[in-house]
Point group: C2
Chain length 230, copies 2
DNA sequence: CGTCGACTTGAGTTAACTCAAATCATGTGG
DNA sequence: CCACATGATTTGAGTTAACTCAAGTCGACG
């Protein structure tokens, strides 16, 4: 696939005039990262941002004791690492490929010139950042105002919506990583999955496959309307 | 003070050509909110965004049980409520004036036209959103990876840096509101302030005035290097 | 002086954590 | 194809930070 063809599939670059797409191909740098390879670390200077072409990348924070909080997992088409580009600060978190990933890297200075010439590109980037703020708002709400069962319920609902299948779903990440994404630890996640199974809210093969048995109840858990019994 | 003079003092509109400033004055709407008055609620449709001219505004989430998590407190010069403008969604949180506040309101459609014509304005807005993402990242880290004493320590350090005085500081919000900003409740905040006082880390008049006695220790608390003893 | 709201303190509960051990899944070399 | 090493997940037992509920205490203001 040609470079332009790959770039047009990136939502951030949707609806751009042909001219802009061509300019983008001129500044993009193709990079490949192996599974578990660090892409950047918190505090690094950011001289550009990335877009995932294939594979997946996790953005995360680490506590001094080594506990990890995943902020995002980005897949194909999604940009990340833009904050330092526009805020002029260092990366606020770490990025690591969770599987072999191909990335496009756009150096800041060249991208700046492009944005100054292309209002659509600026608008698209504003939309991306705004959506991310929206997602962070939801994560803060989860962490501060919900218990782990509620967060898990919300995630399962999100997954079942994302995957077509109404009630059958497959975890797209390991349970350890899911724990980190939900702001908890594997032991706690495991216990809560067991409780949900015991309460006949879900059914699991013990692996990554989960079947939702009681969506109504799951929704009430996610909204905090009810609590999970012991 | 003239409208243009007020608008140029807003950081978001820094370094804009005279023409753009004039256009802004043409679309701005002046609004006044009383203390405790709701500005918008989560889920409301957002047809524009605001800039605080005077007073202060809190942005917050509420749990079903009524617990509040403050996301931000904005003061003069700071914009808020931009997410729905660019993401095309509803407000992800609530906004309330915590004191009598004068706001400038910029309707979306007119502002869109302006951004499309002014790359500087777009860049400034990108910088604002990026900084906000950075702040949210820090809040998520605090909530997920730090204990309340660490969050409080970080806030006290932030305050002492913001206010000139090296070790003497004055809380700019009530302790209940501070508790909500730190993701905890007034009782817990009160107990931790008492412990910090007992450990001779701070000294307080029981009101809003606090003196930092051991900044080094406070910094270690904020970074998670040490923990607060009972 | 009395009332109101804000803050503090006490006592008890609990969700989630830590640490340790057992179990299971997967991939490798023999 | 089996036996084992490795990493992921689960389960058990005990601890704890922070919560809830209830009862003061304090300060500002009419």
């Amino acid at each position: 696939m040609s470079l332009v063809n790959q770039i047009v599939t990136i939502p951030l670059f949707q609806d751009l005039p042909q001219k802009d797409l061509k300019d983008l191909t001129a500044i993009v740098i193709h990079q490949v990262f192996k599974r578990a390879q660090i892409i950047f670390s918190e505090g690094d200077e950011g001289k550009g941002f990335y877009v995932v072409i294939s594979g997946r990348v996790k953005i995360f924070k680490l506590s001094p004791e080594g506990k990890e909080q995943i902020l995002h997992i980005f897949g194909p088409g999604e940009p990340f690492g833009e904050v330092p580009v526009f805020a002029g600060k260092c990366f606020p978190a770490n990025a690591e490929a969770i599987e072999k990933s191909r990335l496009f890297y756009f150096p800041r200075d060249a991208f700046f010139d492009l944005i100054n010439k292309s209002p659509s590109l600026a608008m698209n980037m504003l939309a991306v950042l705004s959506k991310r703020l929206h997602q962070f708002t939801a994560l803060i709400e989860d962490l501060s105002l919900k218990e782990v069962p509620g967060r898990l319920a919300a995630y399962l609902i999100y997954l079942s919506e994302q995957q077509k299948s109404t009630d059958d779903l497959t975890l797209d990440i390991s349970k350890s990583q899911l724990a980190s994404l939900l702001g908890t630890i594997p032991e706690t996640l495991s216990r809560i999955l067991a409780r949900m199974t015991r309460e006949a809210i879900i059914e699991s093969d013990g692996q990554r496959h989960i079947r939702i048995l009681d969506l109504k109840l799951l929704e009430k858990l996610a909204s905090g309307e009810v609590r999970l019994s012991k």
